[in-house]
């Protein structure tokens, strides 16, 4: 804890407080899937894939007027420092749930009654902020699958290191920093669909981190749009 995470205007990875890590996005990476995406968010490497709409199993989960979303966030055993047990942990169960809830309001579920849409988020390498990167990738995969959507879901976190509010914490900053606030928004509908918080914030710091994370989400959203444009309209510089 004695190690300084911020000095001389730079963070441990050389970033400024309001700077995102390098981000790469791609859609259409899994041939078998209805839609898919790959994202690199710093050292996070995540694949998301969508299958469906298809039949609901078990049948009793069917909704007569809308689709249901099934979501699994999972980390590969080699994605972490010490090997992660491949069985789903409670953390992964929780993140699967909040990712699903962050995506759902963007999807026109009533267009697909009596079906299930499966969303798989597989973390190949994690580096702090994987839920935000995961939800971003999942939304891209849904768009790539041609699912009718009202908006994309864009995710980004902000936190506090050495008492200062900072954008997009990496793994070390998340572990040793003071607080983390993962956020996901529907940029056009201006809704917050994912919000979590751990660590200590004053009211003022919370609002500052919240605004910073929102700006981060908007930047992520721009990249999502450009990634889709690149694939579907060959719009390289858009």
């Amino acid at each position: 804890m004695s190690k300084s995470l911020y000095s001389k205007g730079r963070r441990i990875d050389g970033r400024k407080l309001d700077e995102l890590r390098p981000i790469k996005m791609e859609v259409g990476v899994i041939d078998n899937a209805t839609g898919s995406s790959y994202i690199e968010f710093g050292r996070n490497k995540i694949i998301a894939a969508v299958y469906g709409p298809k039949d609901v199993h078990p049948k009793h989960m069917t909704k007569t007027e809308s689709a249901i979303i099934k979501c699994r966030y999972h980390m590969t055993p080699f994605s972490t420092g010490t090997r992660k047990n491949p069985a789903p942990s409670r953390r992964e169960t929780e993140i699967s749930k909040i990712i699903r809830e962050a995506l759902e309001p963007a999807i026109v579920l009533t267009d697909y009654p009596r079906t299930a849409i499966h969303v798989y988020v597989e973390v190949l390498q994690s580096d702090g902020g994987s839920r935000c990167a995961g939800v971003t990738a999942a939304s891209l995969a849904l768009a790539d699958a041609g699912i009718n959507m009202r908006d994309l879901t864009a995710g980004c976190a902000a936190g506090k290191i050495n008492g200062k509010v900072a954008l997009d914490l990496n793994e070390v900053e998340d572990m040793e920093g003071d607080a983390d606030l993962p956020l996901a928004i529907l940029p056009n509908l201006e809704k917050i669909t994912l919000l979590q918080l751990d660590g200590n914030f004053s009211r003022k710091e919370f609002i500052a981190a919240f605004k910073l994370a929102k700006e981060g989400c908007m930047k992520v959203y721009e990249m999502q749009r450009n990634t889709l444009k690149d694939k579907y309209f060959g719009n390289k510089e858009a």
Partner: protein
């Protein structure tokens, strides 16, 4: 959902509930930002290191603390363990069934866990006996006895009250490196009270401490945990639905204010229990 009444009655009730909320009135007569009556009774289980039963309106939960020795995680060799679990007992609702915990219950346990962990009510480094080898593990197990909405807050209050009244055995390390129970009991937790406040968004209106009926019509939910009048330590948005930016700011103010109020209630019941 949980009612025995016919669907028609349910439907009419929801209509009335929604109409009322837009006018600032709730179906049970509460104000929008009013919590239900809270009763906190610590020390209900003698065999546990700490325990508490909480009633929040008709929602009823019991939390028990067990402290055992265990091995630390590889990446935190000098820290004790905090393990929070929750279960909706099959007797707690007509639809509740036995079985492994589902994601709803896991979320409750993890949100309660986060509130406790981040508040630093337990200093985990104090629970280290032999670095890298032996530490104390604090198990916080929460059983839901009756479901009527807002399990998050009820579970959190029960866990916190149980921790505040919990005593742990004092161990010492002998010359041979063995762990020996001195037979003395010391308090487990710091005098710090994290308070969780859960709010539901219904008809674009924020209501505090939703009942089960209100939860069935809510669009989204947010839980914020505070440890002081200007400290927020944990949060979780849930349910498919979105909050606007102003909703979140409002929720923050509500949580800070409600936190101060509930903190007094918890403090009072803990002090009362300690006098006994």
């Amino acid at each position: 959902m949980a009612s025995k009444k016919s669907l028609v009655v349910e439907y009419l009730k929801f209509e009335q509930m929604l109409a009322g909320i837009s006018k600032g009135k709730r179906i049970d007569g509460r104000q929008l930002l009013e919590t239900r009556s809270i009763s906190i009774e610590p020390g209900v289980i003698e065999k546990a290191n700490g325990s508490a039963k909480v009633k929040l309106g008709k929602t009823e939960v019991i939390a028990g603390i067990k402290i055992q020795t265990g091995s630390p995680f590889d990446d935190t060799p000098n820290k004790g363990l905090l393990i929070v679990t929750s279960e909706i007992l099959p007797l707690a609702a007509p639809w509740a069934e036995p079985g492994p915990p589902n994601e709803e219950v896991i979320e409750i346990a993890r949100v309660v866990d986060r509130g406790i962990r981040e508040s630093k009510i337990i200093e985990l480094t104090d629970l280290c006996l032999v670095e890298g080898k032996k530490v104390l593990a604090v198990f916080v197990d929460i059983s839901v006895l009756n479901v009527d909405g807002n399990l998050f807050d009820a579970a959190s209050y029960a866990a916190v009250a149980a921790l505040l009244t919990a005593k742990m055995p004092k161990y010492k390390i002998t010359k041979e490196g063995e762990i020996e129970d001195t037979g003395k009991q010391v308090p487990l937790a710091e005098k710090l009270i994290p308070v969780s406040t859960t709010m539901a968004l219904i008809n674009d209106t924020i209501v505090v401490d939703p009942t089960l009926d209100e939860e069935t019509v809510m669009e989204a939910r947010v839980t914020l945990t505070t440890t002081g009048k200007d400290t927020i330590c944990a949060g979780q948005k849930g349910f498919p639905g979105g909050f606007s930016m102003t909703d979140i700011e409002l929720a923050l103010d509500i949580a800070l204010k409600n936190g101060e109020k509930i903190r007094k209630t918890i403090k009072k019941s803990v002090e009362l229990a300690e006098k006994k």
